[in-house]
């Protein structure tokens, strides 16, 4: 609530209610997923055009090719000169095919890393805009090192000395989203989602039936409000009434305000400290239990005594 209340503005009261009220019903979660994937929802290039009117898009990873599923470049506007990287989906069939439905291959992430290095060199804050169903599953992508590209993309952002802001603007699914999601501040748009896997993918694996996507969505609870509660998102950015697709200008204006504010906070930190805190932020995430070393239940199950003293060879 504090974040929403601090912002002030027209839509904040509704958002505050959403963040502090009862957990959403499965119907509400499914509706949010629909909004996050709405075909008229603004994509990175829509935000870039409004927030950074002077923008030079950069192409190619200098290793293999150019991936249209990732747009990257440098721009001037909100926050001064910045570097921007985002997942770009397509609006019509032709563009969707061209953009590969916003599913990047390793070339896309390597292009991103190239622009991250540029941001570091020229001391530009990095803004990432996340909107992907996941990294592209294909044999070519695998051969060219999809896994390594995602890992190294995270590694590169962790090494940056410039401020990094990640914004989930639509659907953020799996490692394909997180590759661009490691940042000092993570924001989520009100109707965006962030999840370990797309609901369809989760349903296919856990329910063994891709048709159970609604059940999977209800179980993953991937909404912005929940991610804010879990500490995955630092702020939830309000959208115009009905969703960002109703009014791109207003959606961009609201997001721009949040980015300006976050950049002001981040610029006040010394670069080395900022990087240390960025790492600290991810070091802390995760909930687990600790069983006491002398827990009778665990010992009765024969699990602890055999191992804590070090057993030579096989147990």
């Amino acid at each position: 609530m504090s974040v929403a209340a601090r912002r002030g503005g027209r839509f904040v009261r509704r958002l505050a209610h959403r963040l502090t009220g009862q957990p959403e019903t499965s119907a509400a979660i499914w509706e949010t997923i629909g909004l996050a994937r709405h075909q008229d929802r603004p994509y990175p290039l829509d935000y870039i055009g409004r927030l950074w009117p002077e923008f030079e898009e950069l192409h190619g990873d200098r290793l293999y090719g150019d991936d249209p599923a990732i747009v990257a470049g440098i721009g001037r506007g909100v926050g001064g000169p910045v570097a921007v990287i985002g997942h770009q989906k397509g609006r019509d069939t032709a563009e969707r095919t061209y953009r590969n439905f916003g599913m990047p291959g390793p070339e896309g992430y390597r292009k991103g890393m190239r622009v991250m290095a540029l941001a570091e060199k020229l001391d530009l804050p990095l803004i990432t805009l996340i909107d992907t169903p996941g990294a592209f599953p294909g044999s070519g992508a695998e051969e060219r090192g999809q896994g390594g590209a995602i890992a190294r993309s995270m590694q590169t952002t962790l090494r940056l000395r410039v401020p990094v802001i990640a914004v989930v603007i639509g659907e953020g699914s799996s490692g394909g989203a997180l590759a661009l999601g490691v940042a000092d501040r993570v924001m989520m748009l009100e109707n965006s989602t962030y999840s370990v896997i797309s609901p369809e993918g989760g349903a296919a694996i856990l329910w063994r039936d891709a048709g159970k996507a609604r059940d999977a969505a209800a179980a993953f609870q991937p909404t912005a409000a929940n991610c804010y509660r879990w500490g995955i998102a630092d702020a939830v950015v309000p959208e115009p009434p009905g969703g960002a697709h109703r009014d791109h200008d207003e959606a961009a204006r609201l997001l721009g305000g949040y980015i300006t504010r976050a950049l002001r906070d981040l610029r006040a930190q010394p670069p080395a400290e900022r990087r240390r805190l960025r790492r600290e932020r991810y070091r802390r995430i995760g909930a687990y239990r600790e069983v006491a070393a002398g827990d009778p239940a665990a010992i009765a199950a024969g699990r602890l005594d055999a191992t804590t003293n070090g057993s030579p060879g096989t147990p």
Binding site: G147, D215, Q221, G286, Y288, V291, G310
Partner: protein
Amino acid sequence: MTKRQITVSVDKLRRRRPAESAPPRRLPADERSCPRCQSHWRAEEMRRNLRVCATCGHHFAVSARERVGQLAEGGPWVELWPELRASDPLQFVDLQPYPDRVEKAERGGSDEALICAELEIRGHRCVAAVMDFSFLGGSMGAVVGEKIARAAERCVDKGLPLVVITASGGARMQEGVLALMQMAKTVVAFEALHDAELPTIVLLAHPTTGGVWASFASLGDVTYAEPGALIAFSGPRVIEQTTRETLPDDFGRAETQLAKGQIDAVVDRRDLTTRIARVLAILDRPTGLDPPPAVTWAQHRAEKAAEVAKHLPDLSRRLVAKAKPRRPEDADEEDVE
């Protein structure tokens, strides 16, 4: 070891006897008969062969604790942080509640998908983090992330190398987006090792896929894989469903990944300790936190020089004073030059 074994089906006959109820330590039949060459092994033979088929070299799955035992080669080892257990932050229910799944998996003998240990590999002290595919598909949840982070921090504290063996289907979906974030957490852990200039050796066992391959498993300084291990971000089934590609049988296998430049070597399990020990021997330092010998030597010289320099002004003055009455030969030499 390389001798061809004769397959005797005594085990099979013995198992059919109704009187013999399954002894507790016994592995199920499918874990002892080779799926590739149908050779059949006694439990003791399997254990001694490091769960590799002595006839055809097929690599069977190994539990995490047995793996640590293999790395230690019978030496002592201490398990680290065995008290960490999964929690259920999302109150997740799919076909069954998550806590039930965990409990069932715990009854299988391991208590998480990753165990950490401190041990010596052929005399080289190190921290090992070993994954167990039998525990919920080796999936990475908060405990795996935390243990990797702690293992890296322990390495930094003690100046030890980190040895990681992965076997995982990826992030643990039952922990939702929190499991996804463990990918970033493990990368942070490896960054700590990077900053401390400590080596990481990663062995990719079958299978290493999804979020584990897309995070710390890809970041080893030296990356090995076991023969035939599947290494991929997206598994073959997902790819075939999404793109309608038909994939070759060797898709994503260790040998393919080697040819595509994604790993350093395919290493037979029976050679693994030797290979790891060789890397550790190459990189060995007197103790992890000590600077390398060249640095120690240079520092020693520098300290000595500083000590000399302290006395230098009056020493040189004295020398100059002594040198004043110059001998004529010296003067001649100078003139020549």
